[in-house]
């Protein structure tokens, strides 16, 4: 657990960080350090240059503008979990943030770092995909907006260019008639999602008028579930209709053409079977059918 030699550079601004990335091919960005540092200590990552962006003030903090919550990429999970603005505008964001790892992880880990690392077991990737969030990415050519659903290509791989970094995460506020939930089976060691299911439903009374569903943890990248969404849309949500809808998740996973992850804790077969259960749990909690 002793990292190989590396050069440490501290970026004072986003522009400087981008410049340092351009000047140092293969350099790694250090934000909260919760993914990069362990990899370096295991010597699984050996960047020659580490660029610390932790001091860039305008990458931190939360602001709500109209129907959008803008979260600086360096904002920690704990800050998001405890933000009154976030809790008011989108309770799911706060709840998901509060369920990441443990307090030490939440106090250091950042939302931008989490997304850029693109761990398949990330809670953020699944939740933000369901919520239709976007990220702003800054590169030498300027800034661009990428939907979180499009950001992650594969396990630990994003569409970000070599010299790009995420600066802001933008999340739509929930409307008054929207309900959102995330349910996960957490790995008992890491608390990472073995299977996570995130749902956003727009309700007209008991009837669902629109649904957004994503699952993660069992797939290299979050997978949207259009078949489940269609089954929910226009349906009065009951235990039975929810069970019927979530039973279609298998079709969505097949259609997505992704490998299902398996390990010593949970096989691929088990995860495939549990994914509909987690989505069902999320839906039941979202509409208040589950007992607490």
């Amino acid at each position: 657990m002793f990292a190989a030699d590396f050069e440490y550079r501290k970026a004072g601004s986003i522009a400087e960080a981008v410049q340092l990335l351009s000047d140092n091919p293969g350099a790694k960005i250090l934000a909260g350090g919760h993914s990069l540092i362990p990899l370096m200590r295991f010597r699984l990552a050996r960047p020659e240059v580490v660029i610390d962006i932790g001091g860039i003030a305008n990458m931190k903090g939360i602001s709500v503008s109209g129907d959008t919550i803008n979260i600086g990429a360096l904002t920690t999970h704990a800050e998001i979990a405890s933000s009154a603005d976030v809790q008011r505008a989108n309770g799911l964001l706060a709840e998901a943030a509060g369920g990441i790892g443990d307090p030490a992880v939440r106090n250091r880990g950042t939302i931008g770092g989490n997304l850029a690392h693109a761990d398949p077991a990330s809670d953020w990737a699944t939740v933000l995909t369901a919520l239709g969030a976007t990220v702003s990415a800054q590169g030498p050519a300027g800034s661009r907006t990428i939907a979180v659903a499009d950001l992650i290509e594969d396990a630990f791989a994003t569409v970000l260019g070599e010299n790009e970094l995420i600066t802001t995460v933008s999340v739509p506020a929930l409307a008054a008639n929207q309900r959102a939930e995330y349910a996960k089976m957490a790995h008992p060691a890491s608390f990472y999602a073995v299977v996570g299911g995130a749902v956003v439903v727009t309700m007209d009374g008991d009837r669902c008028t629109a649904a957004s569903v994503a699952v993660g943890g069992l797939t290299p990248r979050p997978v949207k579930a259009p078949a489940v969404e269609q089954a929910l849309s226009g349906t009065t949500l009951t235990m039975d209709s929810i069970a019927d809808a979530t039973a279609r998740l298998g079709d969505d996973l097949s259609a997505a053409g992704v490998d299902i992850i398996g390990d010593v804790f949970a096989s691929a077969d088990f995860r495939s079977n549990i994914a509909p259960v987690e989505v069902k749990h999320a839906l039941l909690h979202a509409i208040g059918l589950a007992h607490h």
Binding site: F2, R43, A96, Y182, H187, A189, D240
Partner: protein, 801 residues
């Protein structure tokens, strides 16, 4: 009389330094000129080393030396095993500190680099070029004993390390005559102890003095010194072993490891202090593991559920080599406990110790007794099912009647005292057992699966009479000693041979002293962990520190009180027979104003201006206490769980413990020990397990994969007690360090099986992961009522359900 400090739940004096990060562990110690060692470990479970080239490593920046197996040959003796079970054909195979020729598990040492700093040492490790010819490997202890299995040691055919049988009564006849027999195959999975502090050592060799000082994170510094003497050849009186703050041991810091011997070797070669500290990843392969049994167990009973016999065939994995105390664990500490708290006339334990290509196994909290309790409780549940009676009723029909002074059991040991049904009764009251059974019926109709598991236990603790230790092949004594010195100022130092590392004896031993001689508890300081400053002792394990070491302290205080009485009589110009003692005051009977306090007496004893004839100066005494018997704590625990049939998730809803460790010196410390033990036992039932692949690679090699219990997954543990003093112990105490672990795995497992009973699940391997539960439910044909979500569940986090 003031409130007794014995029995008072005062706060642990250890805690401020521990919880503010001011405690100094081995790795915190920095010596002038100290350099750093890193160990190259085998990536193969079994391989022949065909070549080692260290040239590039030796030339690497900051490197002082690189040593391999060839370098230690003839200099460092093999690591000895200290528990040679008699009549077991035990194979004391060579256990070299650095492998030469063959590596036998992932983690076996191949070379060591010493460099100016640890980073340089790690850099150089990567430059060592080792040629390996991989050999077939074997991990499962039962499979390792089978014909055709890969062979680890030439002198241990079939990988058999030993074969031990213990029996009482006529087990075969009892089974032949039995109305009911039940059987079970139990996998006691391999566990990784995971103390908060990994292992660490600093060796400092003084060639001028011919002395070796070894700071070592150990549970038993005196044993460590003894073994270091055997391995390094440095004479025992020229070795000083210091156990600084030790951050948890759980048995994994009993052994003397190759790693600190390598560290000593490096210091002796280079003439500078050398530090080696394990990384967490290294800890998972290089520090001993626990359990690892494959067990075939059977129980016989009459038609009423009265058990007549229990027998086992146990394949106990030893790992690649025999660690210090390893052979004693599945034998003496396991097989001899097959009666548990029950009256069973015929018992037979048939135990094979087996070498496997995995990390050596050692004691792990409970050490043999959790395994014994688990199999008894598992079989007791099955007998209850076979007879058609409730799991509590079957236990009640088999518990030994209360006794207060010695009860022989069929396996050939003598329990000291017990009131097993008393503990069970109290437990049932606390959990509201009958009400739970009533509610459970109703809940099951609604597709909610809750279960209750009750585990009764009795454990062998307070190790132990040295004669017995010798008779069962333990390579040392098991007595303890204490020296107590009262200074002229009335302050007290207690020097003990045991070596607490989190159990709180700095506090509880001060309470013993304060209680025995009437000084303020804050005037007492307990000194431990340094072979140069403490008297001989055999260490802290087996719930023995308070039972044996505490007894030594108490008896020492009584000697000092006797001496003080003589001096007080002299000072009071009274006859000794007329002196009474109470609460730190010696006074003339009938004249309380004519008194000398213990402090007055201590002052006079230390200045020695006016002592009675024949009384030596000083106020100091020592005791070497060898217990006449083991102690046998006992109790009854219950767990209540919910199982979600949708996703296999288990929620631990309630946990209630009733333990009897005799009189409690400090109930808060007792409660803490129960909490920790229960949680570790829950870990085995629900989360923990070392998993290897077919090539002997540890797949659960990091804390991201190996799940130790987390606080939010454990309910508030309800701790209760009964008090049945040990008749032979000067304090009546029995030990509490392991009770939680011994009972909780069995209780939780039983609760889960109880929850799944209506579904038809009858057997499961631990840990009870969601996938195992989910599969078993499906294989049992359960399809649910379609609404299996309708109860509370909490699968981790992320969602407040």
């Amino acid at each position: 009389m003031t409130t007794r400090i014995f029995g008072s739940g005062i706060r642990r004096r250890e805690d401020p330094r521990l919880i503010t990060g001011q405690a100094a562990y081995t790795d915190d110690i920095k010596l002038a000129g100290m350099v750093h060692a890193a160990i190259l470990r085998s990536p193969h479970a079994h391989a022949r080393i065909t070549s080692i080239n260290t040239d590039a490593a030796k030339a690497s920046a900051g490197v002082l030396a690189v040593y391999t197996g060839a370098d230690i040959e003839g200099v460092l003796n093999p690591i000895p095993c200290a528990w040679a079970i008699p009549d077991s054909d035990l194979k004391a195979v060579a256990y070299p500190a650095i492998a030469s020729g063959v590596v036998r598990y992932v983690g076996d040492a191949v070379a060591v680099v010493v460099a100016e700093n640890r980073y340089q040492a790690e850099d150089a490790l990567e430059l060592i070029d080792v040629g390996y010819e991989p050999l077939p490997s074997i991990i499962n202890p039962e499979a390792a004993l089978a014909d055709g299995a890969p062979q680890l040691h030439e002198d241990a055919p079939n990988n058999q390390a030993f074969h031990w049988v213990a029996a009482g009564g006529d087990t075969d006849a009892a089974f032949a005559d039995a109305a009911i027999t039940v059987s079970e195959t139990i996998n006691q999975q391999k566990l990784i102890p995971t103390p908060m502090e990994t292992r660490s050592a600093i060796a400092s060799w003084s060639s001028a003095m011919g002395e070796l000082t070894l700071w070592n994170t150990t549970q038993n510094p005196h044993i460590a010194r003894f073994v270091t003497c055997l391995v390094t050849g440095v004479a025992e009186h020229k070795i000083r072993v210091i156990a600084p703050e030790v951050g948890g041991g759980f048995g994994a810091k009993i052994a003397v490891y190759p790693w600190e011997m390598i560290t000593a070797f490096c210091s002796m070669q280079l003439g500078v202090p050398v530090k080696w500290t394990e990384t967490r990843t290294e800890n998972y392969v290089a520090t001993t593991h626990g359990r690892d049994h494959v067990e075939y167990v059977e129980m016989a009973a009459d038609a009423n559920g009265k058990v007549t016999a229990v027998r086992s065939v146990v394949y106990a994995g030893m790992g690649a080599y025999l660690s210090t105390a390893a052979p004693g664990i599945p034998t003496i500490l396991h097989g001899l406990m097959y009666s548990g708290p029950y009256d069973i006339a015929n018992i037979k334990a048939d135990v094979y110790g087996v070498f496997t290509n995995s990390t050596p196994v050692e004691a792990y909290r409970g050490a043999g007794r959790p395994e014994a309790t688990f199999l008894l409780e598992r079989l007791m549940d099955k007998v209850g099912d076979a007879v058609g009676i409730d799991s509590v009723e079957v236990r009640r029909r088999n518990l030994i009647e209360p006794f207060d002074n010695n009860r022989d059991v069929a396996i050939g040991i003598t329990y000291d005292s017990g009131n097993y049904s008393g503990a069970l009764d109290q437990l049932l009251g606390h959990i509201g057992y009958d009400q739970f059974r009533h509610d459970q019926e109703h809940e099951r109709e609604h597709g909610t699966f809750r279960g209750v598991g009750v585990a009764c236990y009795c454990e062998i603790c307070g190790l132990g009479p040295s004669q017995v230790a010798g008779a069962v092949g333990f390579g040392g004594g098991l007595w303890e000693s204490a020296t107590v010195r009262i200074y002229a100022t009335g302050k007290v130092n207690v020097f003990i041979g045991t070596s607490p590392h989190g159990q709180g004896e700095e506090t509880t031993f001060a309470q013993i002293v304060a209680d025995e001689i009437g000084v303020d508890v804050d005037d007492v300081e307990v000194v431990h962990g340094d072979t140069d400053t403490t008297p001989m002792g055999w260490g802290t394990y087996g719930s023995r520190t308070t039972v044996v070491g505490g007894a030594a302290v108490a008896l020492t205080m009584r000697k000092l009180r006797d001496k003080a009485r003589v001096i007080a009589a002299h000072l009071l110009e009274a006859d000794e027979a007329d002196i009474e003692y109470e609460d730190g005051q010696f006074f003339v009977r009938g004249a309380r104003d004519r008194a000398q306090s213990i402090q007055d007496v201590a002052l006079q004893a230390n200045v020695a201006w006016n002592l009675p004839e024949g009384i030596e100066p000083g106020m100091e005494a020592s005791t070497y206490y060898d217990p006449p018997n083991f102690s046998y704590p006992f109790g009854a625990h219950a767990a209540i769980v919910s199982v979600d049939p949708d996703n296999g998730h288990i929620t631990l809803d309630r946990y209630v413990a009733v333990d009897d460790c005799g009189p409690q010196i400090n109930p808060m410390v007792v409660e803490g020990q129960v909490h920790g033990g229960v949680v570790q036992g829950a870990g085995q039932a629900l989360w923990e397990g070392a998993v290897y692949d077919d090539n002997g690679q540890l797949l659960t090699g990091t804390m991201m994969d190996y799940a130790i219990p987390r606080a939010h997954l454990v309910p508030d543990i309800e701790v209760h007690s009964t008090v049945t003093p040990s008749p032979h112990n000067p304090l009546g105490v029995k030990g509490i360090g392991e009770t939680g672990t011994i009972a909780s795995t069995a209780a939780i497992y039983s609760a889960v099986m109880d929850a799944l009973k209506p579904i038809g699940v009858t057997s499961l391997d631990m840990p009870l992961t969601p996938e195992r539960i989910w599969r078993a439910i499906r294989e049992a044909g359960y399809t649910g009522n379609g609404h299996g979500h309708s109860h509370d569940h909490d699968h981790g986090h992320g969602h407040n359900h």
